[in-house]
Structure formats: C-alpha cells, structure tokens
C-alpha cells in the first residue's frame, strides 16, 4: 500500500517578475513520479537546489504544484489539505520553526493545541516526547538556551506531537556535529520500527545509507531513478580518482590498461588524474603506482553530483 504517491509532479517558480516584466521561469520539479510504501524510510538524495525541499513542501501542503498530482494517505494535497495535515509531521533542519523565547515544553504544548489535542493529552504527549528525545531535564529551559543538537531533537519532538502517520524530514541533521547526528539517526530508526512512513531528504550519502530502504535520486528537478542505498554506495566506491603529482608515461600506460580504469588524464606538468569505474579498481591502481616508486598521490571520492553525471552519461540508469 502506497502512503505517498506523486504523478508527473511539476513546480515552476517565476523570479524577477514585475508590472511590466514577465520574469524568468525556474523549473524546480519536472515531472516527478514517486511512490512510497507504508512503513518505509525513503530517502530523497540530491545536491542543493535539486528540488528535494520543493517536493517536501508540496507533500506537506505548504506549496501548490504547478501541475501533476500528489497524494498522502490517499488524500490529494491540493484539495484535501485539512485531512492531509492531520496525518503528517514535518521536521526541517537548522533553526527553523521553533519559538526561541518559549521553553521546550511550552513550544510542544503550543503545537499540540494546533494539532487539536486536548490540554491534558497535549501536556502528556509533550512530556513523553521530551523524555523520548532526551530533553526532559531541559524541558523548562528556553529554546534560545539550547544547543543546536538539542533544538534539532526538539524539532523532531515537535514533528511528532500530532502522532503523524507520515513524517517529512528535510535535511534534519544539517549543521549537527557527528555525535548529535548519530543520536538523531538513532531516533529516526526508532520511528521506523514504530511503522511510521518517513521521507528523508539529504545530500549525505552516509545518512541515506544508514537510514533508508530505498533512495530516490533527484537533480535539477528530475527524478533520476530509485535505488537501494547499497547500490548507490557501490557506484560511489566505483567512481574514485587517483591524483599523482608526477608519473612516467609508461607507468600511466600500464595503469590505463588495468581493468576498471576508465580514464587517465595526463597533465602538461607530468602529473595525471586516474579515474576508476569499478569497485576495487583503485587498489590495483595504487599497488601499481607504489610498486613503480610513485608515492606522491592522493585518492578522492567523487561527489554525488559527479556520480550523477557519470550515470547520466554512460551507466544507462533509467532517466
């Protein structure tokens, strides 16, 4: 059963429009069709400006699509907004969405009222959530005195106050230190075990790998495909690069002949960049280079964006 479903979803923003100017059209989402099953943690992975947040905003009813259709729990997000809003929770990354001058408890009790909980129920759930996210001891501290990690956990509690079936997490760990991010991910796993459906946007491959069952790759508003995190991780491992400061031409010829080496780009200064296209190929390259006495080298992994470009160019992934 699909809990979130979009069909040919498109959103165009018009910027710079005035009385006499038509403005420039920016396509933020371009025909995105997606289906997320009940209880699934689904990642939405892409670089900044890919359209991830736009998709989350449409699904959470705060932005209208230009065309196409989107449903949450079988309800249309543009026509049945009130019903959709009863079933969803949203958590944004960063400092957005909390009242800094209120305490953590006051924030949650306020939001509980907006989710139509009764007073006693709101107070009970706020206390339980503060306990759950490890903020019970700081419940009566003003939000402005909380650390970034604590605020983010409070954000999660706020997103859960309405007991949502579907939770949208929009880059929830952005700006968190590694320890706080790990703690946040542990909480997300707990929510997954409770059977909630979660849509997580991120540009962090590691985060997607540790939390998601499937990941949708999105770039420039287009859905490039949907894969398991393991497959994506394999691709990133495959597309590694070795930069050497200087290497004799014959050594570079031997490297180019190795299986799994995609390209050897020679520079005029005698250096080169070697790109691999198969997992494990980089260790063979390093063995050969070190064996030839070349030790001034470095290995880098490509960004997701670069992997996308590779995939778009040659891998033949569904586009």
């Amino acid at each position: 059963m699909y809990v979130v479903r979009t069909s040919e979803l498109r959103r165009v923003f018009v910027t710079g429009a005035g009385w006499r100017r038509r403005g420039t059209e920016l396509v933020a989402l371009d025909g995105v069709s997606l289906a997320i099953e009940a209880g699934e943690v689904h990642g939405l992975l892409g670089p900044n400006g890919a359209g991830k947040t736009t998709l989350v905003k449409i699904l959470s009813t705060v932005l209208l699509p230009t065309s196409g259709r989107a449903e949450v729990c079988g309800r249309d997000v543009t026509t049945d907004t009130r019903e959709v809003r009863r079933k969803i929770g949203i958590v944004f990354g960063g400092d957005r969405g909390l009242y800094l001058r209120l305490t953590a408890r006051q924030n949650l009790e306020y939001w509980s009222a907006l989710y139509r909980l009764t007073g006693p129920e709101g107070r009970r759930r706020a206390a339980a959530l503060l306990e759950r996210v490890g903020l019970a001891e700081r419940a009566d501290s003003r939000v402005e005195t909380l650390s970034r990690g604590m605020r983010q956990r409070l954000h999660l509690a706020r997103g859960l106050i309405g007991d949502p079936q579907v939770l949208f997490l929009d880059e929830p760990t952005v700006g968190l230190d590694p320890v706080a991010a790990l703690e946040f991910r542990r909480l997300v796993r707990e929510l997954q075990q409770e059977g909630r459906t979660i849509l997580l946007t991120t540009h962090d491959m590691e985060e997607a790998e540790s939390l998601c069952e499937r990941v949708a790759l999105i770039d420039r508003g287009r859905l490039l495909g949907i894969e398991t995190p393991r497959a994506l991780s394999g691709w990133i491992a495959a597309y590694e690069r070795v930069d050497v400061a200087a290497a004799p031409p014959d050594v570079l010829d031997r490297v180019a002949a190795l299986p799994g080496v995609g390209r050897v780009e020679r520079r005029p200064d005698g250096g080169a960049r070697i790109e691999t296209v198969a997992e494990g190929a980089v260790s063979e390259v390093l063995r050969l280079l070190v064996g030839a006495g070349i030790t001034a080298l470095g290995v880098t992994r490509p960004s997701l964006e670069e992997v996308y470009l590779h995939l778009m160019g040659g891998h033949g992934m569904t586009v």
Partner: protein
C-alpha cells in the same frame, strides 16, 4: 477551535512578555500621559484631565495593533515558523487572531499605567461615572482593534513596503481616531473619514463615560463600534486566508 485560539494567545503573551521590543510601546505610555496631563493642567482645563489620561491608552492600543500585531505574519515568515503553522490542521487565521488578541490585551495595561501616572504624578484620580458602559466600550474597542490588526497583518505581508505603510498609518489615525481631540473639533472635511474608524466612535464614547451626564445614543454608538469591529475581523480572516493561499501558490510562504 477555542483551544488553538487560547494556545496561540498564551504563547504570544509569553513571547511578548519576554521581548523588550514588544513591550517598548508600554514604556512610552507614562511619558505621553505626563505630556497630555501637563498641557491640560497648564491650560487650566481640569475638565479635560480625563481625556488626557485616556488618550495615551488609545494611542498605545492603536500603536501596538499596528506595529506588534501587524507584524505577526511577517515575523512568522522571517522566523520560518509560518510553513509549519500552515501545515497544521488549525487554520492559520485562527492562530493569527489568538496572537493579535493577546497583543491587544497586553496593550490595555496602558490604562493602568496612565491611571497610576495621573494618580501619583498629578494627584488626579480619574473618575469613571458610567463604569459598566466604560467596560463594555473598552471590550468592544479591543475586539475592533483585533479585527483591524488582523487586516493589517495580512495587508503588510502583501505590501511591498510594509514598514513605510506602518509608519504612515500611525499619526493620521491618531488624528482621525480622535484619540486626544474629539472628531467634532476637526475640520468638517476630516470628520467624514474619521467616522469610518471604530476608534473615533470608541474614543468619544469612552470620554463620555468620564462625564457625569449620561451619554446619548449609547445603543447606536455601541452597535457602530461592534459592527465596524466585526466587519474588519471578517475581512481580516478572509484576507489572511487569501494571502496564505496566494503565498502557497507563488511559493513565497517562507522567505527562503
């Protein structure tokens, strides 16, 4: 719907009480009271001392509606709480009304301040001859202020230069609202637009409550204040809902 309304009121009261910026207009009230009372006393018009106490209260009521309440939607956009508020099952307009109501109630503290300044600074105890009518009028005035502030909050979001609009709506309304000078003393061509403002009716009736003579046409005057208040509240609710829909359509709800 009353629980979200009450929760929004409570949250706004707590936030305003902790925000010096929101409370600053209340700091100015004693100064205005001193100025108005000093002018009346030096002019030998002890009959107008009551008006001098009332004027800073009404002035503050309008100022807080204009600056604090009128800014609420813009602030929700700036602090990016608006998207989360809109995504709850409670209509945003309800949240807005609750918060504006809290600001308006807070602005009535000015009455206590003005009374204290008159009592202990000028040894003048304001006498309300028609206290029930005074309380009813003040309540209706607060309701009408809420309605007007909700309209302004929605308009300021759409306007390209809200700050300029806010500034330009203060002193003209003080004059047209008759907060210190009764509208009947204004030039004839200003009296007609002044009568479209609930504040001018409210100010006159509140001043009349300080006189020993029974106020005339009480029913009609109360109806006008209530009618203008309810009309502005209805317009404000409709406008807020339209503005939110427009921002959702344009993708400009949050400022990111």
């Amino acid at each position: 719907m009353t629980r979200p309304l009450r929760a929004a009121m409570r949250a706004q009261l707590l936030m305003s009480l902790r925000d010096p910026g929101d409370l600053f207009p209340l700091v100015l009230v004693p100064f205005y009271t001193v100025i108005f009372l000093a002018i009346m006393r030096s002019a030998g018009r002890s009959d107008l001392l009551g008006s001098a106490v009332l004027a800073p209260v009404l002035l503050n009521l309008w100022y807080m509606a204009l600056v604090v309440a009128g800014d609420l939607v813009a602030r929700d956009r700036f602090f990016q709480t608006i998207e989360l508020l809109v995504a709850t099952p409670t209509p945003y307009a309800v949240v807005g009304v609750g918060r504006v109501l809290a600001t308006t109630l807070l602005s009535l503290v000015a009455f206590v301040e003005a009374w204290l300044v008159a009592r202990f600074g000028f040894d003048y105890a304001i006498q309300v001859h028609h206290s029930v009518l005074f309380a009813v009028t003040l309540t209706l005035t607060a309701v009408a202020t809420v309605g007007t502030a909700v309209v302004m909050a929605a308009v300021f979001v759409v306007g390209r230069t809200p700050r300029m609009l806010q500034n330009s709506l203060s002193y003209p309304i003080y004059v047209l609202g008759g907060v210190l000078t009764p509208v009947s003393l204004l030039p004839w061509w200003l009296q007609a637009p002044a009568r479209l403002l609930y504040l001018s009716w409210a100010a006159d009736l509140l001043r009349d409550c300080l006189q020993a003579a029974p106020p005339r046409d009480v029913g009609v005057r109360l109806l006008v204040i209530a009618g203008l208040g309810i009309a502005s509240l209805a317009i404000g609710l409709l406008l807020t809902s339209r503005v939110i829909d427009r921002l959702r359509r344009r993708g400009a709800l949050g400022l990111t």
